[in-house]
């Protein structure tokens, strides 16, 4: 780690102000940021700890589940109200990383980071979630702008995320054998916004919607509806664990299994 200054503001306004300085960096659960600092891959002059802003919490209405940005993955997974209203979301949170990571890592950190293999971006995109920040609300469709890139300004803080509750939904992921992050993760949802299929882990630009699958599933909500619907390899990642062709294949397998699971 390189040296940096540290502050833990008590109000959102103070936090935004602190983040306005040069090379300031927000810290939530630290599950991404701290390893990066330890490896000397990032050199912020100031680390702004968001832990004092009271951004954790879960609210459930008949239409939506709203989760504060600082809510840990473990809290989402363990929430009886989330499990009841939107079981696929609780299940997704329960499948992130390991116990330690889930106890520290947060929803806001995950979305802000937009790791191409992260899980939360898939549910956010598949439910057209609304991302509330310190200055506006952003629809998920416009939020994710490529690998590790989002619509957030440097001094903009996610405060909460609202997920519209779908009638049917499920998430299936095929884990990278080493990191156990999603090598391919597919979230399927059928709800007020129609059918939406979001794919994580596979795209060179991060999470994306699979419109061919969406159209097929609009016609018939069943695994068989995806038979013969191709996933083009263009734009998919190829690495030492999986070629683009293998990822394209896995997207089909995971999508079918997700639809079957969603019922």
């Amino acid at each position: 780690m390189y040296d940096f200054a540290y502050t833990k503001p008590a109000s959102l306004a103070d936090a935004v102000r602190a983040l306005g300085g040069a090379d300031a960096k927000a810290l939530a659960g630290g599950q991404t940021l701290i390893p990066v600092l330890k490896q000397r891959l990032n050199r912020p002059s100031l680390v702004v700890d968001l832990g004092g802003l009271g951004l954790a919490g879960i609210a459930v209405s008949t239409e939506a589940v709203t989760i504060g940005a600082a809510t840990t993955h473990a809290a989402v997974a363990a929430s009886a109200r989330v499990q009841q209203a939107f079981p696929a979301l609780a299940c997704l949170a329960a499948g992130i990383g390991d116990r330690q990571v889930r106890n520290r890592g947060t929803l806001g950190g995950s979305l802000a980071n937009n790791d191409p293999a992260a899980d939360y971006p898939a549910v956010a995109l598949a439910t057209d979630a609304t991302i509330r920040t310190s200055r506006r609300t952003i629809a998920a469709d416009g939020f994710f702008q490529g690998m590790f890139t989002t619509a957030l300004e440097p001094d903009e803080i996610i405060t909460a995320v609202s997920f519209l509750i779908p009638q049917r939904a499920a998430y299936m992921k095929f884990r990278n054998p080493a990191s156990r992050h999603a090598m391919v993760g597919v979230f399927v949802a059928r709800g007020p916004q129609g059918v939406r299929v979001a794919v994580t882990g596979a795209g060179q630009d991060g999470v994306f919607r699979h419109t061919a699958f969406e159209q097929a599933l609009e016609k018939s909500w069943s695994p068989a509806a995806l038979d013969g619907v191709a996933t083009p390899t263009a734009g998919l990642n190829g690495d030492i664990h999986a070629s683009a062709a293998y990822r394209a294949h896995l997207i089909g397998v995971m999508a079918k299994r997700a639809v079957a699971l969603a019922g």
């Binding site: 000397r40 095929f174 080493a178 990191s179 992050h181 030492i240």
Partner: protein
């Protein structure tokens, strides 16, 4: 039976210390005035160094030294094996300096060593060093390293060949192949392994200018080798100028046997600066700078007669050495590996040719099993292939060719003499334990769920090895404890428990009063260290011999104390007594009396003793591994559902520890067979699987309960009847697992897959066969 008796599953006495955080590992030690070293490593796989500018680094606050290759007036790290090639010439041993001279030959090669008051300052300074590299093309992949147009790692090793070695009976083997009714041929890959011990390597050196001696605290598998190599080949000051202390060690698996550049560098810097210097590897460095394991590509051929009897075996093994030769590297695929090619089967002749190859990668050396897993993998894959080709049941083909107990001692074509072995008996028990006969029902049940289930077996045999002698010393300490000084080195195996059991068995003292002392070359003058599954049978013999001398010493002392002739003194259950009477004295009491008298200047001999046992023979643990897997044909994912091992490791001094060793070995074998893939970028030579994000180690949830059944066929060449058990699990598991995967995929037409059987590989094989 006492609480610490032999053959009991005594709870490990070291566990409370190690599991509750009371262990002391090298990095836990801080000495007054200690400095910290950081290694600047080559970012290139092959490059000439045109210039190194250390001025900014040297000016960094807190920095005391910035060393480069030009500063080192010492010898290179030695390779202690020198093979003779087929044509009579010698292997090529390239220079292996602790810091690069005018060239680097692998990513991670040490280029400079920065010593500072803090690790942070040393890191900052290392980043400030400017190295002018002339980057050269590199070769990292063993599969292409022998090709005609690839980059050459060393000018003095044309074709990247380090050695071209052979063993066995070439003419006879060729003749048997010529007359064979059937020949099975197969090329297999033993994938390159990153060892990844839980505790990373570390070294803490101090130098005493008055005595001109170093004390080096470092995590080893036995400090005596290091003392010798540092004192002779590297510093030339003589082995006696080094004291090596090995604190607790968190895993070694062979990788911590060797002398490494960082140990040399801390010693060098400690002498130069007159202050202790510590270096601790981080995980990223461990990937780049610890020796790797395996990395062989082997063509095997099996000749059979019309009855399915094995006639001969022929192999050509291409083995990656890396860019330089680590201490034992050439020995592993040659003497160690080829030595067990006969396994448990009767062959008339064997011929093996091994070609050692240089690549621009970190040196490769011993890893759990060291050569023997590779050889067993080849043999057991070949037999499954032959069974399929000949339509003979794979179990039956093995049984038909096993050497029977009546043939013991049995000499193999590669010159090994097996003292004992009940291979068919163990084999039949294994099939029963695994439920082999009922498998087809389980296959059908899985198929109904869309899964491909397969069962695979491997019968392994390994030759345990290591130094030709081992020493033990037993001292009755003033505080009433019995100290047993050993020349082996535990890295977590449970030695402290097993040796206590032996001591209790021989001396009848309470186990709580026995302390095992290890890891200090000043208090223990010689030791063979731990490697090749040698510890219990080597050190055990030494402990037995020493205990016998203690008892003789005691008999003499007791005869004096009890006023009886020595021949009338019997020793039983920890007491010396006059035969036929109830007059006697306990060994601890007698030892204390004798020590006190000797200390008071009386002419009394203590009971203390030291003996060096000559280790005359290998042991040959063997057994059968049976794995049951399910493959998801849509994704290529392999799940291990059932695993059993029926093992003959001779007498089990502590069955629980044996089982634990086998469990760990099976886990590592699963890693090799299914998960662990070391990948270099073919152009840049960078290690692409350079962290746990990309290098998959086995996790607890990858493994089912592993059943271990022990069938004790006592070893005939040591008085304990024990055979080595530490490596065995990693020897039998890779072939059992791959044979199981291939059994699962056979209905889909897949006949071959290489390790590791990653999801993508399995999926690709299934698609290619369709």
């Amino acid at each position: 039976m006492t609480k610490f008796g032999i053959a009991q599953s005594v709870r490990r006495v070291e566990d409370p210390r190690l599991l509750k955080g009371h262990g002391t590992y090298t990095d836990d030690i801080t000495l007054p005035g200690m400095l910290y070293g950081v290694v600047l490593r080559s970012p290139h796989a092959a490059a000439n160094i045109l210039a190194i500018d250390t001025s900014a680094a040297a000016a960094t606050p807190g920095v005391l030294a910035v060393l480069t290759g030009a500063d080192l007036d010492i010898g290179p790290l030695p390779c202690i094996v020198s093979l003779t090639n087929r044509d009579g010439s010698k292997q090529y041993t390239p220079p292996y300096p602790a810091l690069a001279g005018d060239a680097v030959h692998h990513v991670g090669a040490p280029v400079a060593f920065v010593v500072a008051e803090t690790v942070q300052a040393a890191r900052d300074a290392a980043e400030a060093i400017i190295v002018d590299y002339d980057i050269l093309p590199s070769v990292t992949d063993l599969a292409t390293a022998l090709d005609p147009d690839v980059p050459q790692v060393w000018d003095a090793a044309p074709g990247n060949i380090c050695f071209d070695w052979q063993t066995g009976q070439q003419e006879q083997t060729d003749a048997l192949f010529a007359q064979a009714a059937h020949v099975t041929r197969l090329t297999v890959v033993n994938n390159r392994i990153v060892v990844a011990s839980m505790e990373a390597r570390a070294a803490l050196a101090e130098y005493d200018a008055a005595t001109q001696r170093w004390t080096l605290r470092t995590n080893t598998q036995g400090g005596w080798l290091l003392k010798d190599l540092l004192g002779k080949a590297v510093f030339g000051t003589g082995p006696e100028s080094f004291r090596i202390i090995t604190p607790d060690v968190g895993g070694g698996f062979g990788m911590k046997l060797f002398l490494y550049p960082e140990q040399v560098l801390t010693c060098f810097a400690a002498r130069r600066l007159g202050r202790p210097v510590k270096w601790t590897s981080d995980r990223s460095e461990a990937f780049l700078a610890d020796t790797h394991g395996r990395d062989n590509i082997t063509l095997g051929e099996l000749a059979l007669d019309a009855d399915g009897k094995f006639l001969a075996l022929r192999s050509r093994n291409v083995a990656n050495m890396g860019s330089a030769l680590s201490n034992f590297a050439p020995f592993i695929p040659t003497m160690a590996g080829s030595g067990v090619l006969a396994s448990v089967y009767g062959f008339q002749a064997i011929y093996a040719n091994v070609i050692g190859v240089f690549t621009n990668t970190v040196p490769v050396d011993a890893y759990r099993g060291a050569g023997r897993p590779e050889a067993n993998y080849l043999v057991e894959r070949l037999i499954d292939r032959a069974a399929r080709e000949l339509n003979i049941d794979r179990a039956e083909l093995r049984r038909r060719n096993m050497v029977g107990p009546e043939a013991m001692p049995h000499t193999t074509p590669t010159g090994k003499v097996y003292d004992s072995g009940e291979f068919r008996l163990v084999f039949d028990a294994a099939l029963k334990t695994a439920g082999w006969a009922g498998f087809e029902g389980r296959r059908a049940e899985a198929a109904a769920r869309g899964r491909r289930r397969g069962i695979g077996l491997a019968y392994y045999l390994e030759a345990t090895g290591g130094g030709p002698t081992e020493r033990a010393e037993i001292r009755f300490a003033e505080d009433g404890f019995v100290d047993v000084y050993v020349g082996t080195q535990s890295t977590g195996q449970g030695h402290e428990t097993a040796y206590v059991q032996l001591t209790v068995d021989r001396l009848g003292v309470p186990g709580e009063r026995v302390r095992i002392r290890q890891g200090d070359t000043d208090t223990i003058p010689e030791g063979g260290g731990t490697g090749g599954a040698r510890s219990l049978y080597s050190e055990g013999q030494a402990i037995l011999a020493t205990a016998a001398t203690v008892i003789e010493n005691g008999r003499r002392a007791a005869s004096e104390a009890l006023e009886a002739a020595p021949v009338d003194i019997v020793f039983e259950a920890g007491r010396f007594a006059i035969a036929g009477t109830d007059r006697g004295i306990g060994i601890l009491e007698l030892a204390a009396t004798q020590r006190a008298r000797a200390a008071a200047g009386e002419a009394a001999a203590t009971l203390d003793a030291a003996e060096v046992a000559e280790i005359k023979s290998h042991t040959f643990p063997n057994g059968c591994h049976i794995a049951e897997v399910e493959v998801d044909p849509e994704t290529g994912q392999v799940a291990l559902l059932r695993y059993s091992v029926t093992d003959d490791v001779g007498k089990a001094v502590n069955p629980m520890i044996v089982r634990g060793q086998v469990h760990g070995g099976v886990a590592q074998g699963f890693g090799q067979a299914v998960l662990e893939r070391t990948v270099f970028d073919p152009v840049s030579g960078q290690l692409l699987s350079g962290s746990f994000m990309d290098y998959a180690l086995p996790r607890a949830d990858d493994l089912p309960d592993i059943e271990v059944e022990l069938i004790e066929v006592p070893c005939a060449t040591n008085p304990l009847g024990v055979k080595g058990a530490g490596e065995a699990g990693a020897v039998g598991s890779p072939p059992a697992l791959i044979n199981a995967i291939l059994d699962a995929l056979a209905p889909l037409g897949v006949a071959h897959i290489d390790m590791p059987a990653t999801p993508e590989r399995v999926w690709t094989a299934v698609r290619a066969a369709a």
